[in-house]
């Protein structure tokens, strides 16, 4: 080559990680609001599953009061699972996911942003809808308040752990069912503490300790799950 061979000019402008994360959240929110039906589906599912119990078991007040918390928690868990299948699927199909992995930022933070967007779009609406269903299941005011609190702490954990499963089953046939099989066992502690805390509150016991424990779960999930999710994402994309 000659001495006046061209020299590459490297890109010098860098964007902060926070802005990159915000861009991920904003894009997810925006494209979800263009397709509002998808936002409504988990909520409708939540509502319908809860309705099945009075119809299928018993509409008696005593039964509903006793089982109501469990029903609401299980239904919330199932509708989260249902929505998780879409977490990466559309991004995977249109290539957005590849572009996300190629962003010059730590991938686990972008995974965290995706999980946050998912929670805002499904977990939070479930928490907001829960009191209405709680009243329909004849739960007491105090129980409903504690229930919402446990859901508020618990549903982000569901989104964070679920994101790992969604990344692992990316691009697989029957990914949705597979996702549930992988993730349900990991959801059990959250379910136990979510319902257990409400049960304790109904009996009049102090629940601060249990809530703190659930918060500890949340912190643990926040710190560990994005790393596992990022690793899983790289593996799945590598294989596609």
């Amino acid at each position: 080559m000659t001495s006046n061979a061209p020299r590459a000019v490297l890109a010098d402008h860098n964007v902060s990680v926070g802005r990159a994360m915000w861009a991920v959240v904003r894009r997810d929110l925006r494209s979800s609001f263009r397709q509002r039906q998808d936002l409504l589906n988990p909520l409708l599912f939540f509502f319908m599953v809860v309705t099945l119990f009075p119809l299928g078991v018993s509409p008696e007040v005593s039964f509903l009061q006793q089982a109501g918390t469990g029903i609401l928690w299980v239904a919330a868990l199932l509708s989260t699972l249902l929505s998780l299948d879409h977490l990466y699927r559309h991004d995977f199909d249109d290539g957005t996911l590849e572009q996300m992995v190629l962003q010059p930022h730590p991938l686990f933070l972008l995974v965290l942003a995706k999980s946050l967007a998912h929670w805002l779009l499904t977990g939070l609406p479930l928490v907001i809808l829960a009191p209405v269903l709680g009243i329909m299941l004849h739960l007491e005011g105090n129980s409903i308040a504690v229930l919402c609190l446990t859901l508020l702490i618990g549903t982000p954990v569901l989104s964070l752990i679920g994101a790992i499963g969604a990344a692992l089953t990316l691009g697989l046939r029957a990914g949705g069912v597979l996702l549930s099989l992988l993730i349900i066992p990991l959801y059990i502690p959250v379910l136990i503490f979510g319902t257990g805390t409400v049960a304790a509150a109904t009996e009049g016991a102090a629940v601060e300790g249990y809530l703190a424990l659930m918060a500890a779960f949340l912190v643990l999930a926040l710190t560990l799950a994005p790393f596992a999710g990022a690793a899983a994402l790289r593996i799945s994309l590598s294989n596609s």
């Binding site: 089953t169 597979l178 099989l181 066992p185 049960a199 596992a228 593996i235």
Partner: protein, 247 residues
């Protein structure tokens, strides 16, 4: 050091070593297992509280022990897979996952059958059995995910991530299930937790635990060898081996 590591990680080296170890593992394992079980079945004294049904302990406890340690071993192998990408570690996970699931099932089954004469019911939502059930689910997850991904390397790495997530969760699951159990039924009578066991009981138990571990070692070696034969088709030594076995 690094070359040594690679040497120990080479499938060919492992195949040879495993072949030499396996007869010993099998003989010793079966010997100890039979000794422990016969002793436990016929010679150990009757338990004054539960009568003869306690003899199930000699298979329940080894199965449960092994079921849990196999998952832990898989987790260690998963770390090796992800960090050093050692072939043997992938092979190990793939070879032993179904074995672990069967052992977990055995622990559950024997626990349930034990429950019938002890509590008068086949299944009880006791903390131990419930955690075992969840462990079985975790095994299923790993097996199903492994078979759903066709590319071997990607499959091994995805399963490794899942197992690591699972192993972080196991203590949390255990703790929460125990807490849940006390919430719903105050602890009454626990399987296997006896204040003091006479040597006539714990020695055969120890023998059968050891025996089952060794037997597992044999089976794991055998299954890993099979996997090596399947995957290393292109290498010359496997070809020669296959050719030799054929005649």
């Amino acid at each position: 050091m690094w070359t040594l590591f690679h040497k120990f990680g080479s499938p060919k080296w492992f195949f040879g070593i495993a072949g030499r170890l396996m007869p010993w593992l099998l003989a010793l394992g079966l010997g100890l297992l039979v000794a422990g079980l016969v002793w436990g079945l016929a010679f150990a004294p009757k338990d004054y509280l539960q009568g003869n049904s306690y003899r199930i302990i000699f298979i329940h406890v080894p199965s449960a022990f092994l079921a849990q340690s196999v998952y832990l071993m898989m987790a260690v192998a998963a770390v090796v897979t992800l960090v050093w990408r050692m072939k043997l570690a992938d092979l190990f996970v793939q070879a032993v996952a179904p074995v672990g699931a069967v052992l977990t099932f055995l622990a559950l089954f024997t626990g349930a059958v034990w429950g019938k004469p002890t509590w008068g019911t086949w299944w009880i939502w006791d903390a131990r059995l419930t955690s075992m059930l969840i462990l079985l689910f975790l095994y299923f997850g790993a097996i199903v995910l492994g078979s759903a991904i066709s590319d071997e390397k990607a499959s091994a790495r995805a399963v490794a991530v899942l197992i690591l997530v699972g192993v972080v969760n196991i203590p949390i699951i255990k703790y929460s299930v125990e807490w849940w159990n006390t919430l719903h039924q105050p602890a009454t009578f626990k399987l296997t937790e006896k204040p003091s066991m006479p040597p006539e009981m714990w020695v055969p138990l120890l023998l059968s635990v050891l025996g089952l571990y060794l037997w597992f070692g044999w089976l794991a070696c055998y299954r890993m060898q099979t996997e090596i034969l399947r995957r290393e088709r292109r290498t010359r030594w496997v070809r020669e081996l296959v050719r030799a076995e054929g005649h």
